[in-house]
């Protein structure tokens, strides 16, 4: 029993990270129909920049904030330099552009931070907390709390603020939003900033546990995407639930089946979703307009 609880703890921790990545996917997808394959790189950058800033002498909280701000700025730059110029391009081109951005960021990180694995101290020490025979790291609570906080903040933003409603309107109908005077370009910029910032936050919180290296982004992207698809593309609640579900599936796979193939769990989920319920848990069926 305590063994199962232990697996659940670690599942919820990584699940929180995947949920944040899935949320990032969802924000950009809703604003622009772009599936951003570079989403995982934001997680990597969050951890990497915090590490570098901390190593350069910045206090950890300041290092973390600078990582989030810098990554959000990079998200905006990516939108301006790579996505906006290709507006109206076919899906194929957009996939190639975002995967290109992903590889480019990886390459730059490899040169800037080297090929080593990096980390920094946990925020509240490394003393495990005992719960019913299992243990959980204080940092895990940071990660889970971060995901929940982000979700609540986003929910408030999208339902209670004018700007948030503008973003939602744009995702429903871009042309109509333009007609009622919403600056859709600004909405796109905001979506990339938010999405990159959220990804970076995930990296900042998770790195003391998961460690980071220049090439970890793709795996995060794949799993976050699996979460978003499981929940139903475009649905924020689905992204959150899906992300946590992928984390749990992965932890249980590692615990009871094979730790070598825990990474395969996400892929199996993707295929299963595609086979049996392409709309995901909370998704709606889409119709092409003619």
């Amino acid at each position: 029993m305590s063994e199962l609880l232990q697996f659940l703890f670690s599942g919820v921790t990584v699940g929180a990270v995947y949920a944040l990545v899935a949320l990032g996917f969802t924000i950009i997808y809703n604003a622009s129909d772009v599936v951003n394959f570079a989403q995982g790189e934001f997680v990597m950058l969050g951890g990497m920049i915090t590490f570098a800033a901390h190593a350069a002498g910045l206090p950890l909280p300041l290092a973390a904030i600078s990582a989030i701000v810098l990554t959000a700025a990079l998200g905006v730059a990516m939108n301006k330099l790579a996505i906006e110029p290709a507006r109206g391009a076919p899906v194929v081109s957009l996939i190639i552009i975002t995967i290109g951005a992903s590889i480019f960021i990886q390459g730059a990180a490899q040169i800037a931070f080297g090929k080593q694995i990096h980390s920094y101290p946990a925020f509240s020490g490394d003393t495990p907390i005992r719960v019913a025979g299992a243990t959980i790291l204080p940092q895990s609570l940071w990660v889970i709390g971060g995901a929940v906080a982000v979700f609540i903040a986003l929910w408030l933003f999208f339902t209670r603020t004018l700007l948030g409603r503008a973003v939602l309107a744009t995702s429903n109908n871009r042309l109509a939003a333009q007609l009622v005077g919403i600056n859709t370009n600004f909405v796109m910029t905001l979506s990339f900033a938010l999405s990159a910032g959220i990804g970076a936050l995930a990296g900042v919180l998770a790195t003391p546990i998961t460690l980071t290296a220049y090439n970890v982004g793709i795996a995060f992207a794949l799993k976050g995407f699996a979460g978003a698809m499981l929940g139903g593309m475009g649905n924020p609640k689905g992204a959150l639930v899906g992300g946590f579900a992928i984390g749990l599936i992965e932890a249980l796979t590692a615990g009871y089946l094979s730790s070598t193939y825990k990474d395969a769990a996400a892929f199996v989920v993707i295929l299963a979703v595609l086979f049996f319920m392409p709309q995901g848990l909370f998704g709606r069926k889409s119709t092409d307009r003619v």
Binding site: V35, F37, A82, P85, A86, A89, P90, V91, V92, S93, I95, I96, I97, I99, G100, A101, S102, I103, F104, I105, Q106, G107, A108, Q110, I111, I218, A219, L222, F225, A226, M229, T260, Y261, D263, A264, A266, F267, I270, L271, L274, F275, P278, S286, D288, V290
Partner: protein, 318 residues
């Protein structure tokens, strides 16, 4: 100007393969040439999938891995001749592509990208972790194809480099011929039609999902054969052949040269294969260069390098 585009492309390829050796400063370049041809075969498959049918795969190296390890393992474990193992690998790749592609190709474009990304990573993971079978990350030896010795007995003696240069060159031309046949055929026209407008393609009776699946399977077979030839030529293979970066290289080569044109894509394969040989610093910046090429080409030269150059030249003629 009576010559068809298909004949012109094949003629250019034959002349290039036959005459390039006259310019080689050393035997080393036979090896580089063979490497270009092997990549060109995989990239020709990408032209069929992405250029004709408008679908993206981010895991085609997975099929190359299957082709490569089929040639390494089947001869040892089942006593199959390495040459036949190439066809076995191609068959397995085709069947897997069918199984993976069937549910996905009914859905929106990016689903194939995600699913293939996962598929490629899974194949690389299996090849790395199943040490008992594949010897893991350190790689495994591949038996000799035996064709060079056979040719030697028949009185045609070639150095190892020369043999692989001409053999892979021939395979590449054969692959290009098939891809060009497809382009002008009823199936190819239907693929290009669904690329243009899926809605319209359906109304003329094209089974869109099934045709995309065919393109995906055909292109998987190309990748598999490319992987097999790489393994047979090197007599050695590591799981890197199935790695994510190899998938990305394939897409970038095709996109750079011109994903809608067989000759263009082969041109792209040549550039990106030569670059690391010429520029040794390239290795360090490889990721950045590949990423940048993908973005820039998609924004500024969506048709790719070669078609854009040809258009410019033709524009000047008129």
């Amino acid at each position: 100007m009576k010559i068809s585009a298909k004949s012109a492309t094949l003629l250019v390829l034959v002349v290039l393969v036959a005459l390039s050796p006259l310019l080689f400063p050393s035997n080393f370049y036979y090896r580089v040439g063979a490497l270009i041809f092997v990549n060109a075969i995989a990239v020709t498959g990408i032209v069929i999938l992405t250029g004709y049918a408008g679908q993206v795969s981010l895991g085609h190296a997975g099929f190359a891995g299957i082709g490569a390890y089929a040639c390494a393992l089947a001869p040892v474990h089942w006593g199959i001749h390495p040459g036949l193992a190439l066809f076995l690998g191609a068959g397995i790749s085709g069947v897997l592509a069918y199984l993976v592609g069937r549910p996905i190709l009914r859905l929106h474009g990016y689903y194939l990208g995600v699913a293939t990304l996962g598929f490629g990573i899974l194949v690389a993971m299996i090849l790395t972790n199943e040490r008992g079978l594949t010897r893991g990350p350190d790689g495994i030896d591949v038996p000799d194809l035996g064709l060079r010795a056979l040719l030697g007995e028949l009185g045609l003696s070639l150095s190892n480099g020369q043999f692989w240069y001409f053999f892979t060159g021939l395979c590449m031309i054969l692959g290009a011929w098939i891809a060009l046949n497809l382009h002008d055929s009823p199936t190819g026209r239907a693929l290009r039609a669904l690329h243009g407008s899926e809605v319209a393609a359906r109304t003329v009776g094209i089974d869109v999902a099934q045709l995309k699946l065919r393109a995906f399977v055909i292109s998987a077979v190309y990748a598999s054969i490319s992987g097999s030839l790489l393994a047979l030529q090197n007599r050695f293979v590591t799981p890197d052949v199935a790695g994510f970066m190899h998938s990305i290289e394939m897409v970038t080569m095709a996109v750079l040269g011109g994903v809608g044109s067989v000759l263009g894509a082969i041109f792209g394969a040549a550039i990106l294969t030569l670059l690391p040989q010429v520029l040794t610093v390239f290795a360090e910046y490889e990721h950045m260069v590949l990423g940048l090429v993908m973005i820039l080409v998609m924004i500024f030269l969506r048709e790719g390098l070669l078609p854009s150059i040809l258009k410019k030249l033709r524009g000047k003629d008129e």
